[in-house]
Symmetry: C2
Subunit: 517 residues, 2 copies
């Protein structure tokens, strides 16, 4: 059915070719915007339905329901859709819309799983989306679904897990197809969609899926729709991403909680030991003190340094917004710092605090850590250096809870449970696809965009590069202040509206922009 | 009614006087043991009833029920009893049993409140006592109350909050009265009981209660029944106790959780900052690194040092039992180390760990700390030095959650919430009451006892000394491995049986021991 429609659209496409690329882009934006204004409620309803399905990667049944929902969304648009299974791992969803005249094929990537939630921290249920008339922290009130005005104000926010990360980019992509079809503007490239179902769990099966389905995924480039726009709300394009590896670190005290009076000063306190260990790994300025940790860091190129210098300085404003009287890194800018590796202590647990505090020496203390990696670090090199450091600090390393015998025999024991993790990646800014994308997006926006050599966050870009040997570039659309990964994740609606226009222009004109190089 | 009984008993008392103290003690022990053997189940039933009443000091209504229960227990024995109220604070319970011929008055102290509980950590409900046929960690199984044998094995354990700390000493004291009455052995001293209702909350109203009821509490000495026997299971007597002051310490990061990829390395990580701060306060060997912290520590006297040297060395066995491959203090013995102040990190909380870990920079990190104090430190001197240290580390100190403006203005903010705390105390080992007690207890036990200059734990001994100006000496009875303050607190029954005999001997013969000096 879709093939048939595309054949009908070939004629307008050729006549459009006589206008300049700038004129084409402008016309497409106008038509897509008109479509969106006429369909805002329907677009939102589809997104809300999608967000209502819980999507933590460890909940296999829920992930399957998301995948089925997504396949149906694709098929409604005439996109050939398929659930890419490998055993009982969370599946990916694939979509394909081929254009007979297209000379290039682009894969658009997003993920439909979300981070785990702590519902006690949320103002509303994470999987019951609500619309607020402003951000929660500015007193935003829930607007009943029966009382939504037309048009819906762009500053309103939709609250739900994955509202930003990544379900709304998926809806933006598919709505862009709807708008182009309504405007009878055909795609200029073959479009493929690859939607992952366990990105937030560290993509442990992505490699297997990409290998198994390599034939379907052949393309000239991948465009990643994950991540936020720049904190200035400017559109940004990113050419790399930090890698990641996480670590659950547990150190031990006595086998049972001990009265801190009778034994305090003598029985080793695991919370104090953990504090010492963490302090030996990272100073308060964020510098990682583990010997050799920076040895594998590749220096930035000249063009990467230039791109960084052009990025607007938002640090002071960000500190103000985030209630920070200082920032780590000895005064260096955020964009410089995310070019370096990071050690984030994401959680601490030992004994009890506050009302339930007990005068006892805890039996163990635990830290949860995520490391962010930059080229040419790997999870393996990080793991090796961390373990060497722990051994030098006198720790015996175990991977399971230590036995009584082990605890008696070894003075200091650390249990390390490493996540699988993945390495960082970076695409050259000087490739034809890199230049074409930047040019086309700047035409769409009408202003310079932010070009990030490496995004601070982690997405498995390295795999596409390594397995499929293609350039990978990120074109994100959601707001930066979206509480991604935390409680009260949200989407600023204007970002969805703008994202629909941007993706529609990429579909419609990237082919021409690539040929104009 | 009690007065009448005592008059009747005067004759046997005088005739007993013709035997040696050692013979008297031996006879009393035999008769009390016979009484206990004949009444074990009834003794246990009374204790179980008492333990079934929840007793966290912050639960005022429950504390009131405990006090009423305790008053009834005293009155059943003909002890004049009274609830000592001051406003709506947790009350104390007072009891008085005067003996016309007695020349000395001794107050016996214990507390009936217990530490807060985390029921998820308990093998059974903290306020539903269960009897196990051995310790839980050695596979102890619950024995149904309908299947308790006679006699009840001394190695069996009773599990409940306050099973050891301090409800069973209270039952031991009152059962000792029952046994003496049954054996027609009169007390040799005027006996007063003072049972506190908020010791585990730091005794914030004890001063006011002691001042208000000072006339009733006049005595020649206080005997404290709180605390455990020595880890060798030998009887111990203690002449001091460490003081205590607790601190809830919170440091801050961004006002909302931030994606650790996009902001990690730049937004201050409060968990890493807390680790640095704790590491600056205490090394992993337990030495407190806060400048001047040890300046107020009074050196031990010659007799205190001698008493310490006589205490059996149990460190290696304790490490074995507790699964410890090392102990803090650079190899010094436990008994030496508890003569010094301690900083115990009793809890840590920041972000999330394990299954719920999120790749986010937490908004705050919290440590719960208890300091143990020795003469001549005070909570005020500790507080001053800690706060000076924090300021030197660059922290701005606040006592409430900081406002957004404060967070923006001050690079590092620490919120400090101090508990009231109390100072340490130490009674001289060379006073007549000290010598008489040691002699009488060694007669009872038939072996040398452990004489501790200062107990590691904290009890408000200083107040009795300061306000009532009397010697204060501890004579504890419960097992050392009782999980006091932690989950699965328990009592080894033999300690209750032995304690009944010991307290009975003190009631019956302390008067004569004091005169024999």
């Amino acid at each position: 059915m879709m093939r048939c429609m595309i054949a009908l659209l070939l004629l307008p496409s050729l006549t459009l070719g006589q206008r300049s690329l700038a004129e084409d882009v402008s016309l497409t934006r106008e038509r897509v915007r008109a479509y969106r204004l006429a369909h805002e409620r329907a677009i939102l309803d589809e997104l809300v339905g999608f967000l209502s399905i819980p999507n933590v990667a460890s909940d296999r049944e829920a992930i399957r329901r998301n995948a089925e929902f997504l396949r149906a969304m694709l098929e409604r648009r005439g996109v050939r859709a398929e659930i890419l299974d490998i055993g009982d791992a969370p599946p990916a969803v694939y979509g394909e819309l081929l254009v007979p005249t297209a000379r290039h094929t682009i894969v658009f990537y997003a993920h439909f799983d979300g981070q785990p939630v702590d519902p006690s921290q949320w103002a509303s249920d994470p999987w019951t989306p609500v619309l607020r008339d402003r951000p929660l922290e500015h007193g935003g009130r829930v607007v009943p679904w029966s009382a939504i005005p037309t048009p819906i104000p762009g500053e309103w926010r939709l609250y739900a897990r994955s509202a930003s990360d990544d379900k709304s980019p998926i809806v933006a992509l598919l709505t862009a197809l709807d708008a182009l079809r309504a405007a009878q503007i055909p795609p200029s490239v073959n479009i493929k969609f690859f939607f992952e179902g366990e990105e937030e769990a560290g993509s442990p099966h992505l490699r297997t899926i990409l290998q198994k389905y390599a034939d379907r995924l052949k393309a000239d480039a991948w465009v990643l729709c994950d991540g936020p726009v720049h904190q200035t709300r400017r559109q940004q394009v990113y050419f790399g991403a930090r890698g990641i590896v996480d670590l659950e670190l547990t150190v031990y005290g006595p086998v049972r909680p001990l009265h801190s009076g009778h034994y305090g000063n003598w029985a080793p306190n695991p919370a104090a030991l953990l504090a010492q260990l963490l302090a030996s790994m990272r100073d308060e300025d964020g510098h990682i003190r583990i010997p050799g940790f920076y040895d594998d860091v590749r220096p930035l190129t000249e063009s990467e340094r230039r791109a960084l210098a052009e990025i607007p300085d938002i640090d002071a404003a960000l500190r103000e917004e985030l209630g920070l009287g200082w920032s780590e890194g000895g005064g260096r800018r955020l964009v410089e710092l995310i070019m370096a590796p990071a050690l984030n202590v994401r959680g601490l647990r030992a004994g009890h605090v506050g009302e339930t505090a007990q005068n006892a020496i805890p039996t163990e203390a635990r830290a949860s850590i995520d490391f962010r990696l930059v080229p040419d670090q790997t999870p393996e090199s990080v793991r090796r250096r961390v373990e060497e450091h722990l051994r030098r600090q006198g720790f015996t390393i175990v991977t399971e809870a230590p036995t009584l015998e082990q605890r008696r025999r070894h003075p200091k024991i650390a249990r390390l449970v490493w996540g699988p993790g993945y390495p960082p990646a970076r695409t050259s800014m000087d490739l034809p696809i890199s230049r074409a994308l930047v040019r086309l997006i700047e035409e769409t926006i009408g202003a310079p965009i932010v070009k990030m050599p490496t995004l601070g966050g982690s997405i498995p870009m390295y795999l596409f590069q390594e397995l499929l040997n293609v350039p990978v570039i990120g074109v994100p659309i959601v707001n930066h202040d979206n509480n991604q990964h935390g409680a009260n994740e949200n989407l600023r609606l204007q970002n969805l509206w703008d994202g629909i226009e941007l993706y529609a222009v990429l579909f419609a004109h990237l082919g021409r922009a690539l040929e104009a190089k």
